[in-house]
Amino acid sequence: MNYNVDEKGYYGEFGGAFIPEMLYPNVENLRQQYLKVMEEPSFKAEFDQLLKSYVGRPSPLFFAKRLSEKYNTKIYLKREDLNHTGAHKVNNTIGQILMAKRLGKTRIIAETGAGQHGVATATVCALMGMECIVYMGEIDIARQAPNVARMKMLGAEVRPALSGSRTLKDATNEAIRDWINNPVDTHYIIGSAIGPHPYPDMVTRFQSIISEEIKWQLKELEGKENPDYVVACVGGGSNAAGTFYHFLHEEEVGIIAVEAAGKGVDSGESAATSVLGKEGIIHGCKTLLMQTPDGQITEPYSISAGLDYPGVGPMHAHLYKTGRAEFIPITDDAAMEAGMELCKLEGIIPAIESSHAFAILKTRAFKPDDVVVINLSGRGDKDLSTYIKYFEL
């Protein structure tokens, strides 16, 4: 079984490029160029150099001793939270800004939900001296004031998405409309492993540095490249795609994708797309998405703004459908508790997105000698107000 994208841009039956003709020239150009550009030695050198000296890679693979003792298994944390800007998102924005430059683009647009991808995009635009416009749902702008301020300080213009439900999916719609309106000078930096082909594959490749490093780090620490399990939370699926990438075809490695169940899978307020979604088309790709029986896209819910997306990247839809990955839904409450536990046991305040991945330890049993690598996709600074409110700190 192949879990990577095929020449036509599909992962099994998922993926493709369901885009209006207005976007065809840009997406087609990107499709023709992205692999060539990524293979250029000068591109690789610049990408690697920035990841090292600007982002701070490699990110440590940390043996979580007390957490391991508690759950009687060997748990390693991949510390994406230590990256510049505080999450894995920057791996992708560094790659895409270099791509945009080589494609001759001068203006960058992006969508953001919680603001993490917006901040990571604004950061690389400042670094490269490029104009940056970030679309953000009006409701998210109100909820995520610190990240809005960060983007502004970094020189980006934050434009409110006023249509539909005024959250991440609408911000994505607005970014796509901007690209339709500005087809010549603009590159759209999508923030997750979603969108029309080649975006899911391109974003996955930029994020695959995560599993590339896990391999050699684990070799040093455990004497073997492959863990027994890799675990990551899934919003659109970029940190998970990067964490899984080099293990997809290593059959002995179990893959666990953790989704946000919100207030419970059956509560009507959830973002567990693998359970609640049906095949359909969202933002230019065929995948699993939450929708009404009539094909209208519905609004997801999660306490974590970064997991609050009604679809899932097409690679993950394929991993789900083929059974290659185990999908586990985690509620708000379970995630918040797991986040607090990581603080107390390891001295690390995780992003609430990442807390979802840790919450599986309570219910998913591992053997004492299993090596379990959990991707700690981001740090919790951005979530302090949510933690404060939730725990009445």
Partner: protein, 254 residues
């Protein structure tokens, strides 16, 4: 013969209107279609509302959101249209996004279209290659003409490919924009219209996006077989309701 082909054979320039089904009120669909025909409109695009209309500007988005709030669904639209051919003769095209059709079932949808008398479909996010590989045979089985879009950025080679794949008309998007821009047409559009006219394509072109009044309608139809008005019409019925549709039509084709 398909009504679209018949209409394209006439000597006159064609005036087409887009409206969102279920807007302003759920059950306005039939009345709007009848009034448009009786006031001289040549063809109608019935918008099937979608929650996330990527290629549309604020006016059509807002009308879609309202139509969905009003309770519009694919099944209700077909029900509203079931007797439409007893009173309406002009070509009727459904314009919408692909996901609701996928959920309805593409073949079931096409079959229903044929039953109620729909002549064609415009589905901006159903790309040419996917259409040809998976759906062309189904569309044809039910006598539906699929309409493709071109834009100022579409390459000549791609236009030739689309021309070869087209059967009715080509929907020529006037400028690099979503629906509803109303800046008028300048030199850029004029030279694009001319460039396409000079290509002498087999398929006639109808221009849409950004046509809002009699002036832009005239500019567009100088070069193309016809023109489509959407947002400006929606704005008119938002402001004036559905009782003065004739006034709107007459101010365009004086």
């Amino acid at each position: 013969m398909n009504r679209i082909h018949q209409k394209l054979q006439s000597d006159k320039k064609l005036f087409s209107i887009y409206f969102t089904a279920g807007y302003p009120n759920l059950n306005d669909t039939v009345k709007i279609i009848q009034d448009l025909e009786s006031n001289g409109v040549d063809m109608i695009e019935i918008g099937l509302p979608f929650s996330d209309p990527l290629a549309d500007g604020p006016t059509i988005q807002a009308s879609s959101t309202q139509a969905l709030k009003n309770g519009m669904t694919t099944a209700i639209l077909f029900d509203q249209l079931k007797d439409i051919r007893s009173s309406v003769n002009i070509p009727l095209v459904i314009m919408g996004y692909f996901n609701p059709i996928l959920q309805y079932g593409v073949e079931a949808f096409c079959k229903k279209c044929q039953e109620v008398g729909i002549d064609g479909l415009i589905l901006p996010d159903l790309p040419l290659d996917v259409y040809q590989e998976q759906y062309e045979a189904i569309f044809k089985k039910y006598g539906l003409i699929n309409i493709f879009l071109i834009t100022p950025q579409t390459s000549d080679a791609r236009i030739a490919q689309i021309d070869a794949a087209s059967e009715g008309f080509i929907y020529m998007v006037s400028s690099a924009s979503v629906t509803g821009s109303s800046d008028g047409f300048g030199n850029v559009q004029e030279s694009y219209f001319k460039r396409i006219a000079k290509m002498e394509l087999n398929t006639p072109q109808i221009i849409g996006f950004g046509i809002s009044n009699s002036e832009t309608f005239q500019q567009a139809t100088k070069w193309a077989k016809g023109a489509i008005i959407g947002s400006a019409f929606i704005k008119h019925i938002t402001k004036n309701g559905t009782d003065s549709i004739g006034d709107f039509v007459k101010q365009i084709i004086k």
